[in-house]
Amino acid sequence: MVLTPDETAKLIKEEKRRLLVAGSICGTLEVGGKKLLDYVVDMAKLTDTPIAATGSTMFQLKDNKEVKAKKMMAADLVNFLRVEKWEEPLTPERPELLVFLGFYPEVARMLVSTIGDQKTMVLDNRYFDSATYSAPDLSFEQWAEFLNKTIDNLGK
């Protein structure tokens, strides 16, 4: 399903068990004058959602006491979602919705293809048909607008 900012915020708010997944380019890529990671943190704060930080992104979250975040290898995330007997300190219950931002396209494609039973939402600026929900193809300017509007809606 191709998302609009309104739908994105609505879907995130509707799902009680959710997890934000910050990819490896979250900490370096700037969109609309701020890092993608800042958007992730804004979403986390507004919705009280934990963040699984893949790649090296956790280093930039280590001093942020406002959000609950943990370094997770993509493989650990997949294990957490798929296998029995996994003990995850970040969030004991398996999420029903995973929101991805800041991924190389192939990594995002791998993750959404591997995750079995959960709903996936990719908010990067490429459309992912294998995700349950995806932002459409967007230019950087449109992407910033999309993310900002989503965050505005999450705050309402």
Binding site: S24, F59, L61, K62, K71, M73, R82, S113, S139
Partner: protein, 831 residues
């Protein structure tokens, strides 16, 4: 085989063993089996376990071992292909249900996995076969092969599957016939209506990997034996730390462009060999530059000191766009399929040499050299010459004429860059298409205003795959712009490295057998170098491991990237800084693509025999069971082809954890362990035969990662073994916790799973570790004295340390195994 089989007696010390039941079917190979047992089995061993060999190993011969691995590390698939089109009953959308033949989505993924591994095997097998046929034509099939002064046990990846290493070219042909038979058997199992069990399919995929290393090792040996490639086993131990000298010039800036330049691409070194020979015969060595891209480049620097190693094969387009080669010679595999089109942009002439990659050209091997050179000098863009000798001569003669006909530079001017940038509509389709998320409208907007820094930054990081250009509706030549924005970076891409050295010697293995209990582990960095970002990141990874006392070996295109970091103080590369031994704190480059067979499995099979008298001839499961208990890791960085897929499979099957990145996600199948599922982590007491729970080590067998930081943090953890001396465990904890903290700002959440007593805790971290064990994990700690009083077992019990150690895991020195058949019985001769 019937019960009336005649006895075949092997004598091991004072013990006679009937080996007629030691293999599935001994008919025709009686002498081989007898010799294998007599030369590699100890008297102790033949009296303690059943002698069992698998000469000319089939996948099913190792299924017992594969099943153990695949049960502990179940295959996990990234099902990006969900529609099966393998037969004419389909296509079948397997996401919706079973296919017409009854296959489901997961089994289909396992089938794709086997197909990938087979394609990887086929790619190299054909290269090896082509080389062998050339050798037989040149030297005759009775030609004996030389080993080198110190290669005592022969070819280990070969011995492990067929019991013996060939001694003549005829025997190499026989060995390859075995490999070809295996490929055909494996590929046929991936056909419609054949193998239907996921574990069996994966077992076969792993086998394709083992056979690939077999073929690669044969190739390496032919290169030394027939073409005098650099080969460490031909040197004395004291010469090896500096062998070969780190004097090879590498990088695009190493090419003297005032001379005519021939660039070779692919994995067949024979055209380059022939060209160099022609140059030497005609006194042209100093007048012509020869450079190699990818595997051929790594080979060229092993037989011709003046050859330049340019770049990894996946980035070949950078060289083509630069127009570096006046003449480009392409073989196969690992060549761009649009090489002709790309070369034409810069007026380079192309000579294709492989019948596997003809580019639709007619083979002109029978035409006179003068005629071919004449045609190429005029309008002909490319020719196919499958006769490598002729191809080499044509390349040398043509390049001398082409130099004057080409421009000095094909780079865009700044004005041209700005002009193209102004066509950008800021749609960012380039960003969405770029696998590395590098280029965007923002960069082009700056370039339009004359700020080329964004483009210049991409010059070094791009893989030049061209997807950005393809996505651009305005037809902007983005790759040309990256290159033109940073000519200084191209000039600065100039460093010295060691050429590959071939196999690890028995003397080095003897020495590492002594140090292996105190070093963190042996790490091999392999792969194609297909990754975005600076090559120096890979060098930093190697540096980190070497300086942390790992034994580091490299092979494949990535070996060049390891040289791309220069110490700011000394100006030296890692190859110039560290000894080239297979020892802790050393860095050894085994060579190009085929040398990936030499870095890990071969030395470890040898280690098994030298240190523990573990038989290595047709005893794969026995050797893998040994390796699985020791510390080793393989990092495959930037895989590009199915060959890497099979290389990864081979190492995983040998019990060596494999980390794949940063595009590990494309690997389609991983072998991940679940550290929290206690039922998965056990070993068998090697003398008493009972199972005990152990720590989850190694945690994964094949794991994808995204960043170099993740590799550096993961390798120490995957190096934890089940029987570690306390000092070694302390060192690994130190490396693991430091790496995690430095790179992710926090400690990992699983270190406590590997603690069983205080002696294992590194002194500098002990107070914090004890506090966390007490506060967060429920252990009973004497905080005043800093001691563990009671351990919290994973089942929740609080236990005395001694009781816990007796119940959980095994002590260092105890023989343990995964295979019940390898449990020692009381010696028959002493009963």
């Amino acid at each position: 085989m019937g019960d009336d089989q005649k006895k075949v007696i092997a004598k091991v010390g004072g013990t006679e063993v009937d080996v007629s039941t030691a293999v599935r079917d001994i008919r025709g190979i009686e002498d081989l089996v007898k010799e294998s047992v007599e030369t590699t089995w100890s008297e102790n061993l033949v009296n303690q376990i059943k002698v069992w060999l698998t000469p000319f190993t089939h996948a099913s011969d190792i299924a017992e071992w594969d099943k153990i691995l695949l049960e502990r590390f179940p295959p996990l698939y990234t099902a990006t292909v969900k529609e099966c089109q393998d037969c004419f009953q389909g296509p079948c959308d397997l996401e919706k249900g079973k296919g017409a033949c009854g296959i489901n989505l997961e089994t289909f993924q396992a089938k794709l996995s086997l197909q990938s591994a087979c394609k990887g095997l086929a790619a190299h097998l054909s290269t090896c076969k082509e080389l062998l046929e050339h050798c037989i034509k040149e030297f005759g099939e009775d030609r004996e092969l030389k080993w080198g002064k110190t290669l005592v046990y022969g070819l280990m990846n070969v011995n492990i599957l067929i019991s013996n290493s060939p001694k003549t070219l005829r025997e190499v042909r026989e060995a390859l016939t075995y490999a070809e038979g295996q490929l055909s058997e494996l590929l046929s199992a991936a056909n419609v209506g054949r193998e239907s069990n996921i574990i069996s399919l994966e077992s076969k995929a792993l086998h394709a990997g083992s056979v690939l290393l077999f073929a690669m090792e044969l190739t390496e040996w032919l290169k030394f034996s027939m073409f005098d490639f650099t080969w460490a086993p031909d040197k004395e131990l004291l010469e090896i730390p500096a062998y070969p000298e780190p004097i090879t010039e590498a990088g695009l800036g190493s090419v003297d462009r005032s001379k005519p330049v021939i660039v070779f691409i692919g994995n067949d070194f024979l055209p380059a060999w022939m060209a160099v020979k022609y140059m030497k015969d005609n006194g042209l060595e100093d007048k012509i530059e020869v450079g190699g891209i990818g595997a051929v480049g790594h080979d060229m620097i092993r037989f011709h000191e003046q050859a330049k190693l340019l770049i990894s094969a996946t980035k070949a387009n950078k060289v083509l766009r630069l127009g570096l080669g006046d003449v480009v010679v392409v073989s196969d595999p690992c060549c761009r399929v649009d090489a002709l089109e790309e070369a034409a942009r810069t007026d380079s002439k192309v000579i294709a040499t492989s019948l596997n990659a003809t580019y639709g050209l007619d083979d002109r091997s029978l035409d006179p050299v003068d005629e071919i050179v004449g045609d190429l000098e005029k309008d002909t863009l490319a020719v196919l010459i499958s006769d490598q000798k002729k191809a080499g001569e044509v390349a040398v003669r043509l390049v001398q004429k082409m130099k004057a006909k080409r421009k000095d530079s094909y780079l865009l001017t700044t004005e041209e860059i700005k002009g193209y940038a102004s066509k950008c509509t800021d749609c960012d389709a380039c960003f969405r298409a770029c696998p590395a998320s590098l280029v965007s409208g923002k960069v082009l907007k700056a370039a339009k205003e004359g700020d080329l820094t964004g483009l210049a930054d991409i010059c070094d990081k791009s893989t030049y795959c061209g997807k950005c250009e393809d996505a651009c509706a305005e037809g902007i030549p983005l790759m040309d712009m990256f290159l033109a924005a940073n000519p200084q970076a191209i000039e600065a891409d100039n460093f010295r490295m060691r050429a590959g050295r071939g196999a690890i010697t028995s003397n080095e293995i003897r020495d590492i057998a002594i140090t292996m209990f105190s070093m963190p582990s042996a790490v091999a960095i392999l792969g194609c170098g297909n990754y975005p970002g600076a090559a120096s990141e890979v060098a930093q990874m190697a540096k980190e491991f070497v300086e942390s006392n790992y034994s580091v070996s490299v092979a494949g295109c990535i070996a060049q990237d390891v040289a791309s970091y220069k110490d700011p103080k000394t100006g030296k590369t890692l190859y110039e800084t560290y000894p080239a031994l297979y020892n802790p704190r050393c860095l050894t480059n085994c060579g190009g693509c085929s040398a990936q067979a030499l870095t890990s499995t071969a030395p470890f099979y040898k280690l098994g025999y030298i240190a523990f008298r573990n038989p290595y001839k047709s005893a794969f499961a026995q050797e893998a069971d040994f390796i699985y208990r020791f510390a080793a890791a393989v990092v495959i960085w930037g895989p590009a082809t199915d060959l890497s897929y099979a290389v990864a499979a081979a190492h995983a099957r040998a019990g060596i954890p494999v980390i794949v990145g940063p595009y590990g996600s494309k690997f389609k199948r991983y072998l991940l362990g679940n550290k929290y599922d206690r039922s998965k982590w056990w070993m068998v007491h090697g003398n008493k035969g009972y199972r005990k729970e152990t720590a989850p080590a190694p945690e994964h067998l094949l794991i994808p990662v995204e960043t170099v930081d993740e590799v550096i943090a993961l390798v120490p953890k995957l190096s934890f073994t089940l029987q570690e001396m306390e000092t070694a465990r302390q060192g690994k904890f130190d490396l693991y916790l430091n790496a995690y903290k430095k790179r992710f700002g926090e400690w990992p959440d699983d270190w406590q799973l590997f603690v069983s007593k205080d002696m294992e805790l590194p002194v500098t971290k002990k107070p914090k570790m004890l506090r966390l064990l007490s506060d967060e994990h429920g252990w009973e700690i004497d905080k005043k004295r800093g001691r563990i009083l009671k351990v919290k077992h994973r089942d929740g019990r609080l236990m005395e340390v001694g009781d816990f150690v007796a119940e959980y895991g095994f002590q260092s020195g105890q023989y343990i195994t995964c295979l019940d058949r390898l449990v020692y019985q009381i010696r028959k001769d002493r009963q």
